[in-house]
């Protein structure tokens, strides 16, 4: 049989909050699964939906977009726009039957190291339950 399934998750974390929280979780030696590959962006609104789709089509099993809590964005309203964009992307994935539950949007403040660890853990488990992204092995995309 093949190896057990280890999800690969891409996380787009905003520099001012969620990335700092991830850092904090790290230096505080909190335990969280290594499945999340972090990409730092300056703001959650920097995440063009195309990034999310590209990650999924290239075989990522899940994509996490995380930023400052609503009202706390360093650029005031970036995360409000991000929320609209992620909602749209998930609706498109849902309409095409492409697994919208593989995309998560989460607000994690700079001080919330434990929340970051928990989000990483729960999302990894959620994706583990969903199984591998069918796009992983699909050549004719």
């Amino acid at each position: 049989m093949s190896e057990p399934f280890e999800p690969k998750i891409v996380g787009f974390l905003c520099y001012w909050c969620s990335y700092t929280a991830a850092d904090l979780a790290g230096v505080s030696r909190m335990k969280y699964p290594p499945n999340l590959r972090v990409i730092r962006v300056m703001c959650s609104s920097r995440v063009d939906p195309v990034f999310i789709i590209k990650a999924l089509l290239d075989g990522a099993d899940g994509v996490l977009v995380a930023g400052c809590h609503p009202g706390d964005c360093h650029y005031q309203k970036g995360n409000y726009y991000a929320r609209r964009k992620v909602a749209l992307t998930k609706k498109i994935l849902e309409s095409l039957g492409l697994g919208p539950e593989r995309v998560k949007l989460s607000w994690i403040a700079a001080s919330e190291g434990p929340k970051f660890a928990q989000v990483a853990k729960e999302f990894t488990e959620e994706i583990r339950r969903l199984g591998p992204n069918p796009a992983r092995a699909e050549i004719f995309l």
């Binding site: 063009d48 939906p49 195309v50 789709i53 590209k54 089509l57 290239d58 075989g59 609503p70 009202g71 309203k77 409000y80 726009y81 929320r83 609209r84 964009k85 992620v86 909602a87 749209l88 992307t89 998930k90 609706k91 498109i92 849902e94 309409s95 095409l96 039957g97 492409l98 998560k104 949007l105 989460s106 607000w107 929340k115 928990q118 989000v119 729960e122 999302f123 959620e126 069918p134 796009a135 992983r136 092995a137 699909e138 050549i139 004719f140 995309l141």
Partner: protein, 380 residues
């Protein structure tokens, strides 16, 4: 509001109205579909000479170029200098209005005329069929509003009137052998008054007819996407099968009125990567299709513009390989637009959802999974 009933042949009456607008000097030019000299297709013509209007086809049996694009090209470098009538299908008008919001059309000086649209034939079936027979059948559809063989999206079109135009040409609900001219804006009123049209015809019959057809189209459209088309295309396998014929030529994007970007992201260098990148992707999956990123192009494009997609069908007409691309965009667009209760072209003041937000909204799209487990289990 000015609304008048014009007696006589609808086809000749519509053309006569346009000719009078130009002839009486109410406007200086008319943009209208026109048969090409060989007689087998149509193109938009910017007409200056009134007698030319006699040969126009204000309601053409096919949509060769999306009228929204035509108006965008006409006014790209600035507004028109003489008042100009543009005759547009409702979906072309919606695209034009969307393009006004996106700063791609300068509306000053334009007088829009739109009409109850019976639909259009697929470009290919028209070009391959017997033009004269098809034209006759098409003109007939102006009477009973049933166009057999119309494009699938036309058959479930829910914005089929010219209600968003300065002047609406109404066939539905008018007694046979007559039609309505209805002004919706001060410019429209002025133009009708310049031709001596005043008064307020009773439009109750028309409103009823439009309402009934809209209601049945709305439910047919919903059912078509949910029961018939949706299941054919949704899900990884079905979706891939839908795009198996796609040669990634991007024709669908180039003809789309909403895809106005001077350089499309999907044609930019961002997606042209070094050979080792392709090889890495091929290694990961065992192989990589060329041209790469086909599904990325379509789903990415849906992200960029499905909110503004006017379901015009131009992309599907332009596809060389019969990919049902406009139906996909219309189906997905119906659903993305529903999140924001947005309708392209409806209101020039209504911002495109990407440029707007509410502080309290869309909570259902944020991490629902975390709430239940943030408690420490031992505290329960």
């Amino acid at each position: 509001m000015v609304a008048v009933k014009i007696e006589g042949n609808r086809w000749e009456g519509f053309k006569g109205f346009l000719r009078d607008l130009l002839g009486e000097g109410a406007v200086g030019a008319v943009v209208v579909p026109y048969p090409v000299p060989a007689g087998d297709s149509f193109a938009h013509l910017l007409v200056k000479e009134p007698s030319r209007v006699d040969h126009a086809w204000p309601v053409a049996p096919v949509m060769t170029v999306q009228g929204g694009r035509v108006v965008s090209r006409l006014t790209r470098k600035g507004p028109v200098e003489v008042p100009t009538v543009v005759v547009l299908r409702p979906c072309e008008l919606a695209a034009m209005r969307e393009l006004i919001k996106l700063n791609q059309v300068k509306p000053q000086g334009l007088l829009t005329v739109s009409f109850d649209c019976p639909g259009a034939y697929p470009l290919r079936s028209y070009l391959e069929g017997n033009g004269e027979e098809i034209k006759a059948a098409f003109l007939n559809a102006l009477k009973d509003f049933r166009l057999a063989g119309a494009r699938p999206l036309c058959q479930v079109c829910i914005r089929f009137t010219g209600a968003w135009a300065d002047i609406e040409v109404g066939f539905l609900g008018a007694p046979q052998g007559s039609f309505y001219l209805i002004a919706h804006t001060p410019q429209g009123e002025k133009a009708l008054e310049a031709l001596g049209y005043t008064g307020q015809e009773d439009l109750a019959e028309r409103e009823k007819a439009v309402e009934e057809l809209t209601a049945s189209r709305v439910s047919e459209r919903e059912a078509y996407f949910r029961e018939e088309f949706g299941p054919q295309v949704a899900g990884p396998e079905a979706l891939l099968a839908t795009f198996h014929n796609c040669i990634n030529c991007h024709n669908c994007m180039r003809v789309c009125p909403i895809c106005f970007c001077r350089e499309c992201f999907f044609e930019s260098n961002a997606l042209k990567v070094a050979p080792h990148n392709y090889l890495m992707r091929a290694r990961r999956k065992g192989g990589l299709r060329f041209m790469p990123d086909t599904l990325l192009f379509h789903t990415g494009r849906m992200n960029h513009m499905s909110l503004s997609c006017v379901s015009c069908g131009a992309c599907e007409d332009a596809c060389p390989n019969a990919v049902p691309v406009s139906r996909l965009f219309a189906m997905v667009g119906d659903r993305t637009r529903a999140i924001f209760q947005y309708e392209p072209g409806r209101d020039l003041e209504e911002p495109i959802p990407f440029l707007d937000y509410r502080e309290e909204e869309l909570q259902e799209w944020e991490e629902p999974y975390i709430q239940s487990t943030t408690h420490c289990p031992s505290s329960l």
